[in-house]
């Protein structure tokens, strides 16, 4: 930007600033303040709305709530870790091992499924895994199983579904950091006598750290806030915290309780993202790019 452009007029600033302020305040800031406000309101015995912390107390009083909450957080962490472990070699293969002429094609192939709606992808897994599903059909046909078994509606299926759903958000940042890793660093390390383990641990992982951090944060956030996958692939007892929120809002129509839950989820997700950023020494503005 030339110094002159700035000096001449403040007009561009206002043209750009106004829609941004409207968007952020009307759709982000004020709604979340309202969320916080609602979570401290309850209906007292006379039917009036009063301030109270009882929505939060309810969360700790009722084991199903905080157990679901903890369970959700733990599973989201497991999902993030698994996604990372699966994606890392793939990103490495595509950028560093595969012949360069296949590289574009492989990346395209990798991204393709993720353009498709999450619902379609989950639906695909459902018709593969369920009792009348395709896998059971083949297992029975080949005599490996006598009777079809239900493979859907359990924690393993749900975890796999979550890993599958959020894979893209790990692979893309990993591909771009791996791409920026200079081959000669690996060659130099090799030349200096390191083995594969040292190279992975000392060169590749540290270099990929920004990508790992950004991928992990997004995958964690998406798993934590996911509703579809746990709802459709998880068992009836495998409650996910977003389902609790949904139940409060839509089924019980207790918006105040739901707001408290929503706010707790928001705090949890922000907290873990904050810790993640601290541990890996990253900045949010860097990570999301």
């Amino acid at each position: 930007m030339s110094t002159l452009g700035k000096a001449t007029s403040k007009l561009p600033l206002f043209i750009f600033l106004t829609p941004i302020l409207l968007w952020l305040f009307l759709l982000i800031v004020l709604p979340h303040i309202d969320l916080l406000r609602m979570s401290f309101r309850i209906e007292n015995d006379y039917g009036d709305m009063v301030w109270s912390v009882s929505n939060y107390l309810e969360f700790f009083r009722e084991p199903i709530y905080w157990l679901t909450f903890t369970r959700t957080a733990l599973y989201a962490i497991i999902v993030t870790f698994l996604t990372l472990c699966i994606s890392l070699p793939v990103a490495f293969y595509i950028t560093k091992v595969a012949p360069p002429k296949f590289r574009g094609f492989l990346s395209l192939l990798l991204l393709m499924p993720f353009w498709v709606s999450e619902l379609v992808r989950i639906y695909g897994w459902m018709i593969l895994l369920r009792e009348s599903g395709v896998i059971n059909h083949f297992l029975v046909e080949w005599g490996i199983l006598q009777q079809p078994v239900e493979m859907l509606y359990n924690d393993v299926a749900m975890t796999m579904g979550l890993v599958y759903t959020s894979m893209l958000f790990m692979v893309v940042p990993l591909l771009s950091v791996m791409d920026s890793l200079d081959d000669s660093l690996i060659e130099a390390a090799f030349d200096l006598g390191s083995n594969m383990f040292t190279i992975v641990w000392k060169i590749i992982i540290p270099h990929a750290m920004p990508g790992i951090a950004s991928g992990s944060i997004v995958v964690f956030m998406l798993s934590l806030g996911n509703y579809l996958t746990p709802n459709l692939m998880g068992g009836k007892n495998a409650l996910w915290f977003t389902e609790q929120i949904y139940n409060q809002f839509i089924a019980s129509f207790n918006w105040n309780q739901g707001s408290a839950f929503g706010f707790l989820l928001l705090v949890l997700s922000s907290l873990i993202i904050f810790i993640g950023l601290r541990l890996t020494n990253q900045k949010l503005s860097k990570v999301v790019q």
């Binding site: 007029s9 952020l24 982000i28 395209l108 379609v120 992808r121 949010l284």
Partner: protein, 285 residues
Amino acid sequence: MIRTLPQSRSYSIGFKIYILLFFFFLFAPLLITCVLAFNDSLFPALPWKGFSLDWFFSDGPERVGIFHDQINLTSIWVSFKTAFFVAIFSTVVGTCGAFLFEQEEFRFKQLLYFLMLAPLVIPGVILGISILLFSNTLGLFFEDRFGIDIGLLRPGFWLVVLGQFSFITTLVTLIVSAQLKKFDYTLEEAAMNLGANRFQVIVFITLRFLKPALLGATAVAFLMSFENFNTTLFLVGSEATLPINLYLQVRDGSTPVINAISFLLIVGTSTLAVFNLFIQRDRSE
């Protein structure tokens, strides 16, 4: 280890098998969904009973193909409308955002930038309920204070558009910013030096430079909106979008018509994705 280094046979074969398995894992559910859309059966399951286009074109009464399924067709239309408005709005505002954060200097810029990123780390469900709550609060306020009932603030089409817009705009801002970062500002100076005024510089130079990114961002915004479920779930009124509609059907037992819709979606989005890729490639040339 890498291309240029000697590698053992077992390493290279093992790695290839891993990658093959990975891609199988990636595509198996999509392929099976597509294949079963053409199965001549009442259920989306094997065994294969022969090829049929019933789930696309049959008009009942036992099998209703997608092109005769009014409820699903309506929801597809609703999703199209939603995605159209979200794509337009978020591209316009997101472009403003990119210019604001890349070109302008003002107080509290860092704070505002941070706020702009926030929708990315707020779970979609929470975004949905906050906007639901706030619009409800506003609606009550207007009704109590002025006695007017604003339909816009009740769950429904425009609230869904707003909800999706609220986080998709962040994505657009980031996509356009990334391109704007690569912009060489001497080009603006050169244009000015050749006699262009401020407005002409933006139209002929900056926006032209951003065109591929803007098209790409619009395509991404359209897809994100078309497929959004989490935020939409809480804001939807009587007009269900396609993902909501599909979800209700999948949850309560499904017929191969869902496979047919999925097939169309997979073909449609892949086309859009490839189109987007060509735009990007064109740019990098």
